[in-house]
């Protein structure tokens, strides 16, 4: 469903991704770990199409389409969802209006019938409950006055509502206490249906105790330095990322 080949990307002329390769098949969960500055968040932004992040070479195919040719909103409608590390606050647009517009755009794209107002409200309420957000939040501005944890849970809530085919979670665990972490993980796990794929970007192994990955990749200096199974995450937990330097030296 997603195939990234030799992807190079830069921001303001500085190259961050330096030839990244990754293949994700339907239903798979890939964890991407790595030290700060390795390019983890950049990968999420480049895939979602954020303007300042420029893919300079390489190829990304998503569901048989050339992803890099699509606009941000087209990528989202094609089924790609990025859960942001730092979601913005938009006080003048209510969560409800925002969700309605986005769900409606997604359904239209998939050729599904639009939800009635009652159906939509029911689904939105259920999604709120699932991630432990008070239903009143729907009436507030997008992320307006939300705590860090509430913003993260709101991202997962949107993911549940939009039913994407590929979910990229950008450090959805950062700043969360263990209870909030479980809520986020449960939300994600509830969406694992054997077809939907996930890329879980995280600095720590902690989240992967709750979201069991099929593959773990270590991203270092803009490339995948090492890939393996869940045991690789444990290794990182035990020894940190210091070994990467030796690894690179060995490669050099």
């Amino acid at each position: 469903m997603l195939s990234i080949k030799n992807l190079h990307a830069s921001i303001e002329g500085k190259e961050i991704l330096k030839g990244l390769n990754l293949n994700v098949k339907p239903g798979e969960v890939h964890a991407i770990m790595g030290p700060n500055g390795a390019g983890k968040s950049t990968l999420g932004y480049v895939l979602s199409g954020r303007e300042e992040y420029e893919a300079t070479s390489g190829k990304v195919e998503f569901e048989q389409r050339d992803l890099l040719e699509l606009e941000v909103d087209e990528r989202a409608r094609a089924g790609l969802f990025l859960a942001f590390q730092y979601p913005v606050e938009i006080p003048g647009v209510s969560n409800m209006e925002f969700l309605k517009e986005s769900v409606s755009a997604a359904r239209k794209e998939r050729g599904q019938e639009q939800l009635t107002a009652a159906e939509f409200l029911k689904a939105a309420r259920a999604a709120c409950e699932q991630v432990n957000l008070p239903v009143e939040f729907l009436r507030r501005g997008v992320n307006e006055g939300f705590s860090g944890g509430e913003k993260k849970r709101n991202e997962i809530m949107q993911m549940i509502m939009l039913e994407p085919t590929l979910c990229i979670l950008d450090e959805s665990d950062s700043g969360l206490d263990i209870d909030a972490l479980k809520v986020v993980a449960d939300g994600v796990n509830s969406q694992r249906d054997g077809k939907r794929s996930f890329i879980v970007i995280t600095h720590y192994q902690r989240l992967l105790d709750f979201i069991q990955p099929d593959f773990v990749h270590i991203l270092a200096d803009g490339k995948i330095a090492k890939s393996g199974g869940p045991e690789l995450a444990k290794e990182v937990e035990a020894s940190g990322y210091a070994w990467l330097e030796n690894h690179e030296e060995a490669n050099a």
């Binding site: 954020r50 606009e71 941000v72 938009i90 003048g92 925002f98 517009e101 755009a105 939009l162």
Partner: protein, 420 residues
Amino acid sequence: MSQWLANVIDRASSVNDWLSPVRQEALTRLKSTSWPTRRTEEWRYTSLHALANLTLNEATNSKALAEAPVVSNLNSIDIVFVDGVPATDLTALNLPAGLTIHSLANASEAIQQQASKVFNQVKPDAHLFGLVNDALALQGVFINVAAGVQLEQPIRVVNLVSAGIESHNRVLVNLGANAQATIIEHGAGQGNSMNTAFAEYVIGTEAKLEHYRFALHGEEAIHIGGCHFKMGESSRLNSTIVGYGSQISRIDTDVVHAAEHALAKMNCIYLLGPKEHFDLHSLIEHVVPNGTTEQNARGIVGDKARAVFSGRILIHRDAQKTLAELHNRNLLMSRGAQISTTPALEIYADDVQCAHGATIAEIAEEDLYYLQARGISRKQALIMLNFGFIQELVSQMPNKALAAWLEPLLRERFATMESE
């Protein structure tokens, strides 16, 4: 002097009622006032050319008893004026205890006495059209909320205007100590009307006033008015003014912090279409220490419309520990749209915290990206964010029924601006 003002003076000279002494004072001032031009500071950006030679009739009786605009779930006590003529039988209103509403036109001596404590006690006499209103407003209401009375039902004074008619009316409100009330001044109507509407509020010690003023007139109307507040000790004011533009639409809102520890929150929203003009002038005076003012005016100006904002916060020498903020933000939707904004802080005390600013807003790329990343097209995201800019103030309106009524009206208006 303009022909119009000469006519006003002429007509006012023959008025004879209990307010005549006050009217005479106003007339004396009017006679020595020169007609504002572009060189008059207060009218620098708002031309009165369209009014100068206007002759319209005054209504003698309310011919068409137009219905007040319906606001679902508002459940308000409505007092309706049509072209300045009362359309509500005030004596037939079923009012809660502690609330009295009287007509100014046939006030008893006791009511005259009470009303005199408000009439011209709050409104600065510097407003030319305030003086016109002093001289010519034969109709109006005096609303008194007794001390300690907390009204649940909002009171709405509806002021409907129609084509070819000139009208003047006045609202006087006395809010006793510890009293609580919601008062809505609701102006609307189509056609080339001319209306002045001024309201004065005396807010007692620890009293709370929730105030709305809607100037939702058609594009041909001329509407000039004001709302003026005198804050008692530890009183609270939450005011929202909403304006569409008109041929001339001008509102002056003034607040005097006359006693300590009062808090005034003033929001203003304007949304201007084709060639509309809206002018908001505001003067907030801190005379005593420990007062707080928060003012936020936001507008969207489209096509060839023009918005004028002049906001002044004046902090007197004794008004130490004043907290005051004044912000005006504008979104221009077209190359032909204009905004003239002058926020000003005038501070004579040395221990205050103040901030002010005026900006022409731009949509944050980050916000756009976020909406697009959820599948919303750039075009639609821009509409949502642009509207969100004023919707933020709508959602701050404490009365949810009013907010629910207003939002779709503004959205619809905004949608037509978008497509132009």
